[in-house]
């Protein structure tokens, strides 16, 4: 059975889990991975991966300036702001 290091993956995804969630998800995800293992029954040698549902290419826009939001509207949904900036805990490199 495929084991997931749930704690590592949750950290990569920036999601804090309770211990109880970690255990439960671990079991459920292993079960799901076991199920998706059936894909290995298929020979996909030489098959192109399908990334998009439509076969378009070269979709671009013209380099034209459009109006932006006001600072007020940009920050309207922000949980915290400071001098027109989005306020965050101190970023240390």
């Amino acid at each position: 059975m495929q084991e997931i290091n749930v704690q590592y993956v949750a950290e990569l995804a920036r999601i804090r889990l309770t211990e109880e969630e970690e255990t439960r998800f671990g079991g459920q995800l292993s079960q799901i991975l076991e199920y998706v293992d059936k894909l290995n029954q298929l020979d996909v040698e030489g098959i192109d991966p399908m990334t998009h549902a439509v076969p378009l290419v070269n979709v671009t826009r013209k380099d034209e300036v459009q109006p932006s939001l006001s600072n007020e509207l940009a920050l309207k949904n922000a949980p915290a702001s400071l001098n027109g900036l989005f306020k965050v805990p101190k970023i240390v490199e």
Binding site: F25, Q28, L29, Y35, V36, L39, M50, V59, A78, A80
Partner: protein, 458 residues
């Protein structure tokens, strides 16, 4: 209204009155016109589509206070067509679920039986239409999220071809699978809605530049001489017997109406659920990375950004969303990409190839929409895999990018619960699907049956 089924998350009472008054004035002054086909018609919107000045919560605690500063393209199209957009519909959080139980504010109930789920993730969209709380609604369909609730609640649910309707303003779950569509009371309403929301959008790079036909006109012609395939793989083990027999009767009806029915095969069908859950969760894990409590949304503070992210997302997202993000993160992570994501994309090619091949010989496919009728609230909540398997009939067409429609085709007896018939067609064959669905609807009266809505409160 809405106390017993809880289809709505919010309603803009004053807004809708103002819009209605304006519409009345316009009708009085200019009468009805073809370019305003929805003038004065109340349309409700799944809370996953941005509407300027309205909440956009996606059924999530993380976005509980978010107010959109812009309109989704489909919302602009609805407004231009004269629709009254008045309310936001309940859904599984970020459209992840098949029962609308994953909404942070509680489930929507099935209008036919309040102890049952309405399907999902667009449970609010289907339930509100069936409960006569609106004329039509917009939803989104990533793996069956419009069609499956349509089937379980008893209305029409249309998932257009990928690229037919703009996704700009649709909060992404799985970008390469998501498509905006509608729930309606009749096939003719679906044609009208599709005519309004279809078309190329320069804001969506995956939108297909292709003219929009007169969908309503397609309903005039008959299905005589059409060839409709019956894919044997869709009559899965564990299918509810009443569902199987209703579909068989429906197929007989289509034959009666002049269609030729042939059995066909989509050999990779059994891999669709596995393929889908890898692709959908992988895309979701990156699409939902933006919900971090920095620029908007619910925030749990932390002593540094890392702590803030983990705390915010840990308590802001519900269980199913977290489970899927973790699965999606895992399948993309270093060392696993080829084994899972790349592999799934290759299998996706095979699944799409099945459809391409079969559509060389038939005009459309007929299948059940859901292998079962609506189940009890809570019944599958502890078993995510069983929940995922309930989408088995719908999600292949998202993988392939095809169009599909679900229409009522019967009821179980005790309890009385609707059964849905699914029609699938190749890309951009919505006219064909509408034609078949329309003929079937004309020849049956399933769509006329209504649940009794008791709004005293459940």
């Amino acid at each position: 209204m809405d106390k017993s089924i809880h289809a709505f998350l919010s309603i803009n009472k004053q807004g809708v009155l103002d819009q209605a008054e304006k519409a009345d004035r316009e009708i009085a002054e200019k009468g009805l016109s073809a370019d305003r086909p929805l003038l004065g018609i109340p349309i409700a919107i799944k809370d996953v589509l941005a509407e300027k000045g309205a909440p956009l919560t996606c059924g999530s605690r993380l976005l509980r206070d978010f107010v959109s500063p812009y309109d989704a393209t489909v919302v602009t199209q609805l407004k231009n067509a004269g629709a009254l957009t008045f309310g936001r519909l309940n859904m599984d959080e970020f459209a992840m679920g098949s029962s609308t139980e994953n909404s942070s504010v509680g489930p929507t109930c099935n209008p036919w039986d309040y102890s049952r789920i309405p399907g999902g993730s667009s449970g609010g969209s289907a339930a509100s239409v069936v409960a006569d709380e609106c004329i039509a609604s917009l939803g989104s369909d990533t793996g069956g999220s419009i069609r499956q609730p349509a089937s379980l609640c008893g209305c029409v649910g249309l998932k257009p071809t990928y690229g037919r309707v703009s996704r700009y303003g649709l909060v992404a779950f799985a970008s390469s699978l998501d498509q905006v569509g509608c729930n309606t009371k009749t096939v003719s309403d679906a044609a009208t809605m599709l005519g309004v929301i279809s078309g190329y959008d320069k804001r969506d790079s995956t939108s297909v530049p292709r003219s929009v036909p007169e969908y309503s006109a397609a309903l005039q012609s008959s299905i005589k001489g059409m060839k409709i395939g019956l894919p044997k793989e869709y009559f899965v083990e564990g299918m509810q017997p009443e569902v199987a027999s209703s579909i068989r009767q429906a197929v007989e009806k289509l034959e009666e109406l002049g269609a030729e029915i042939v059995e066909v095969s989509l050999p990779h069908t059994e891999y669709a659920v596995a393929c889908y859950y890898i692709i959908a969760t992988a895309e979701a894990s990156t699409n939902l990375a933006r919900f971090d409590g920095i620029r908007y949304g619910y925030r749990v503070d932390g002593k540094n950004p890392f702590e803030l992210y983990c705390a915010t997302r840990g308590s802001g997202f519900g269980e199913e969303v977290k489970r899927r993000i973790i699965l999606g993160t895992y399948v993309l992570s270093s060392g696993y990409y080829d084994a899972y994501y790349l592999k799934a994309q290759k299998v996706r090619s095979l699944i799409a190839g099945d459809f391409t091949k079969v559509f060389e010989t038939v005009d459309a496919l007929v299948t059940p929409t859901s292998p079962t009728t609506a189940w009890k609230l809570g019944e599958k909540m502890d078993d995510p895999l069983q929940m995922y398997l309930s989408d088995v009939c719908t999600l292949s067409s998202n993988l392939a990018g095809n169009c599909g429609i679900s229409i009522p085709c019967g009821f179980t007896d005790n309890p009385t619960l609707p059964i849905g018939l699914q029609l699938l067609g190749p890309p951009f064959s919505e006219e064909t699907l509408l034609k078949i669905a329309g003929d079937f609807e004309q020849a049956t009266d399933w769509h006329c049956r209504k649940p009794v809505i008791n709004n005293a409160g459940a």
